[in-house]
Symmetry: C2
Subunit: 125 residues, 2 copies
DNA sequence: TGTAACTATTTACATACGTAATCGAACTGC
DNA sequence: GCAGTTCGATTACGTATGTAAATAGTTACA
């Protein structure tokens, strides 16, 4: 649903909110402390922009606001992924997969899982 | 080497130049015609910006300029991929791979290739 | 040889983004 | 009750980006 795109810095904010489900501005600020060196004001600006982009909602909770995701993470991931695939790999999945596979460190379990997915793909054709 | 980042629109320009090895402005414009509906002036602006970013060079060839990649495609792909992985998947390769695998259409050959890559990964651990 | 056509360079402008300070209202401790 | 702190809201500002027009230099044809 969200047709707007989430910027680089905004993703960092959204990532902490998605994993916490809901947070006050302070919550976001303290969780980002250490990961980034943004001033609190900077983070608040991004929260506002994310609300305007309808990626977040906020409700008053007592005397402050609680921010909550409005767009699902999976949807945003899907959109960003599609656009990345298109832009950098010309829409070709196989080279993208090969590229990331080569550059990845994978546990044996993960390898098994991926092999499993490949098998499913194969059986569908 | 290129520390600057290539924007969305600029990638489209670079993609045609990388695949042609070298092109005049006209060459780029005609190749993008159909793919985009940018005015020629728009494309020239992007060529200039890409030169300033040191992603392209240009040499006079007869009476016009020929643009040629200065940054290797593979390097730009690597950089963009790393930043995407970080931003959207928190640096975790496995979920990224799973995501794109699920959403991809792959030929039997491609599946074989990917399986091969998985095997190599496995043997390295 | 002048003018049309094309090329490259310069300039333009609105929106997005990164980064933040400031302002006004509310709360809190003295 | 007043001052300092804390919040959210408003404003700021430089660079990047998408999108392109204007201008200047050059070529080529009439």
């Amino acid at each position: 649903m969200p047709q707007v795109s989430i910027s680089d810095a905004e993703w960092q904010v959204m990532n902490v909110i998605w994993s916490a489900h809901s947070l006050t501005a302070q919550g976001v600020i303290s969780r980002l402390d250490g990961q980034t060196d943004w001033a609190p004001a900077t983070i608040k600006t991004m929260l506002h922009r994310l609300v305007k982009k309808q990626v977040l909602t906020y409700e008053p909770q007592g005397n402050r606001y609680v921010y909550r995701p409005r767009a699902r993470r999976a949807d945003c991931v899907k959109q960003a992924s599609r656009s990345f695939l298109e832009r950098v790999f010309g829409g070709e999945s196989a080279p993208l997969l090969a590229h990331f596979l080569r550059g990845s460190k994978l546990s044996p379990d993960e390898i098994t899982q991926l092999r499993e997915l490949l098998n499913e793909k194969e059986n569908l054709s």
